[in-house]
């Protein structure tokens, strides 16, 4: 099944599940309502097939610099050299609208929508209108080509969905300020719907080529019943690139 067909199927299933799972006491506020938003209250909902319901548009904390929450980063010598030599003015790849990669997308300020089916999960990142679809039924990975967003598989650990991602191409950065990683990065994310309005999110970055120990961050996502994911065309009016103030990156110092 192609990704597009899969996404359509996921959207249909998830919308049906979302409608069934949302508490009736959580009416959608008008889009663009200013301030005063209160997420729905009540117990964590389940999908019609009995799993914790992760569906919805989620507001997440913007993490432009992972060091702010983690303290000084434990760089390896290779990682330290990557960080010391990084000069965004010589080509922050996102300025050229190249894919953010999964970690930087999850650290971006723009919301994501999660679509859940019995067999797959989809992240719809508003950032540049990208998406990612992957199995959560325990099947083994099948793709072999390294990618910007990596290869993900998920499984349930009780009421927590555990998503493990690897096989990155090593060409992305972890956050806006540009902390590095290599193609050896492995990401483990744990998603736990703690109540009707919130999702506990734990992410662990394990990249022994770049950092001497794994980095773990805990965050809370808030369900936005008043938001919809909007189109985000990075290429449309990227004047910095069009007018020559942003340079396209060179990759001779990539994570490979």
């Amino acid at each position: 099944m192609s990704y597009r067909l899969l996404l359509i199927a996921a959207l249909s299933l998830a919308c049906a599940g979302l409608a069934a799972a949302q508490p009736p006491s959580a009416p959608a506020a008008p889009s663009g309502a200013r301030g005063g938003y209160k997420p729905p209250e009540g117990p964590a909902p389940k999908t019609p097939w009995g799993k914790p319901d992760l569906n919805g548009v989620w507001q997440r904390p913007y993490v432009p610099d992972i060091e702010r929450g983690l303290g000084p980063l434990p760089f390896t010598e290779w990682g330290k050299a990557q960080w010391a030599s990084y000069k965004p003015e010589e080509g922050d790849y996102t300025g050229s609208c190249l894919p953010f990669g999964h970690v930087r997308s999850m650290n971006s300020p723009d919301p994501i929508q999660i679509l859940e089916t019995p067999t797959h999960l989809a992240f719809l990142y508003e950032q540049n209108s990208w998406f990612k679809v992957f199995p959560i039924d325990g099947r083994p990975t099948s793709k072999k080509v390294p990618t910007w967003f990596g290869e993900s598989v998920g499984h349930w650990d009780g009421d927590t969905l555990v998503v493990e991602t690897a096989n990155f191409n090593g060409l992305t950065r972890l956050d806006t300020v540009g902390h590095p990683h290599s193609d050896q990065l492995r990401v483990t994310e744990r998603f736990t719907r703690t109540d009707a309005g919130h999702l506990a999110y734990q992410v662990t970055l394990d990249d022994p080529k770049t950092y001497t120990k794994p980095l773990t961050s805990n965050r809370t996502f808030t369900l936005r019943t008043d938001w919809e994911i909007l189109e985000y065309s990075c290429e449309e009016n990227n004047k910095g690139l069009i007018e020559g103030r942003i340079k396209t990156p060179k990759y001779e110092n990539s994570g490979k």
């Binding site: 938003y37 965004p88 922050d92 996102t94 540009g178």
Partner: protein, 128 residues
Amino acid sequence: MKQLLTIVTLSLGLFGTTSLWAHHSLAAEYDQKKHVSLTGTVTKLDWRNPHAWVYLDVKSAGGAVEKWQCELGSPNAMSRAGFGPDSIKEGDEIVLDGLLAKDESKTCSTRVVKSKDGRTLLSQQEAR
């Protein structure tokens, strides 16, 4: 002197952390040590992704008009904060503080546009 363009280096405050949401590193394009304060007249608001842009005429003390362009937040974030493509229009008098482009063209990056009497006209921060 109200409409005189002023460039202040190494000023702090408005340019803290989350007020400058951007899809890419601002350091790639703007000089974080060169801040500019502008008061001018809107000639155009271009409400398109990845970032909206405002074009404005700024008069110097001598009366000459300088044409500036300033990059704003993303239309998506600003619309969620309650603003839109009609929040400012041609002819409006606006005030903004921004970072100057490294190429030293009359280009800046800002996230908040205010009226001369201090009302917020555009922002990507939700009003609380």
